[in-house]
Assembly symmetry: C2
Homo-oligomer: 169 residues x 2
DNA sequence: GCAAAGTGATTAACATGTTAAATTGTTGCG
DNA sequence: CGCAACAATTTAACATGTTAATCACTTTGC
């Protein structure tokens, strides 16, 4: 090791080892997964989010923007920018809903579908290799736990920013 | 025209249900966790990344920038910007290493420590509530699987962008 | 010693995350 | 009808993610 300076910041408050916090674990694991997919996406000039959108469109056909945001797990503003770009590249199309001109319907073009078909095999191969290395059983256990945790936290009321250190309202 | 409003885009390539892909699961779960922590951080004018840096510094004392980037799981450019900001707020300090003027050592200030002490109780309380709702055993099972997967993927060679559709080189 | 190669950190440039505000269109109601 | 409240989407503004380039400094080989 390099100069091991004393961990002179013995926090008075005992906090979980930072590197083992749940958000960090989830972040690191996700990155270790994405690291394998990014090169293939990049070879086709796609970012991870653009790929999510194309995948979602291929799976659901026509879909409204708000619903697409929910499915692809993107916030409205991000989605708005990305759709503008993908539309410019003719990978998706938009049309207004006659019944409500505020809404628009997004769909993937045949060019977009071709792109998916070009990327999917590599993507699936990587996923298969991951499954093989990690174990199909453990993978499905992991998925189950992730979903359970998500459900448990959804049911947990969101605390506001009040701390108790403040003087109160 | 609009590629018809066919019911679905029956992809020729069978891909895993998009919403169940591992990266999506990890992303959604992480977000469901962070959703509970963000209000408290925000109440103290801290972003998630700034908090990670302060936590890392509190845990490790003095540390070089590169090592801090590794521990806090941030890329150099992000870290560089955030450190500039945190230094401006007097939450951290930097000093050059005499032995190598390219490097600098970062440490948390007493003001930074006080901020941590102000946030930590709420943070720990939230974590405790999560553990209670999800179950300590399942939480530790999940952590173990996450680490195992991370390790398995670290050992997996990173494929480059070659697809087979390209002419290759 | 010194020029070339290497390393740590920052800057640049562009995409996305995130919250707030603006825009445009719809609806409900007097 | 006319207008206030509401809703879907986009724009704005700023922070971070991401890759490439740059800057400053160090090491290496001659």
């Amino acid at each position: 090791m390099t100069t091991a300076s004393k961990p002179r910041t013995a926090a008075k408050i005992p906090m979980r080892d930072f590197s083992q916090s749940l958000p960090m674990s989830l972040l690191r694991t996700r990155e270790s997964v994405m690291r394998h997919f990014r090169p293939s996406l990049r070879a086709h000039d796609l970012t991870e989010q653009q790929w999510r959108i194309l995948r979602a469109l291929a799976a659901s056909g026509e879909i409204e923007v708000t619903e697409l945001a929910r499915v692809a797990f993107l916030l409205g503003p991000s989605l708005s920018r990305i759709l503008r770009d993908l539309e410019g590249r003719r990978l998706i199309e938009r049309r207004l809903l006659k019944a409500d001109l505020r809404r628009s319907i997004v769909s993937i073009t045949s060019k977009g579908l071709k792109l998916i078909e070009a990327v999917a095999p590599t993507s699936e191969a990587i996923y298969a290799e991951m499954t093989k290395r990690f174990g199909a059983r453990k993978l499905s256990d992991l998925q189950a736990l992730l979903h359970e945790l998500e459900a448990a936290l959804l049911a947990m009321p969101a605390a506001d920013g009040a701390d108790g250190d403040d003087t109160g309202e």
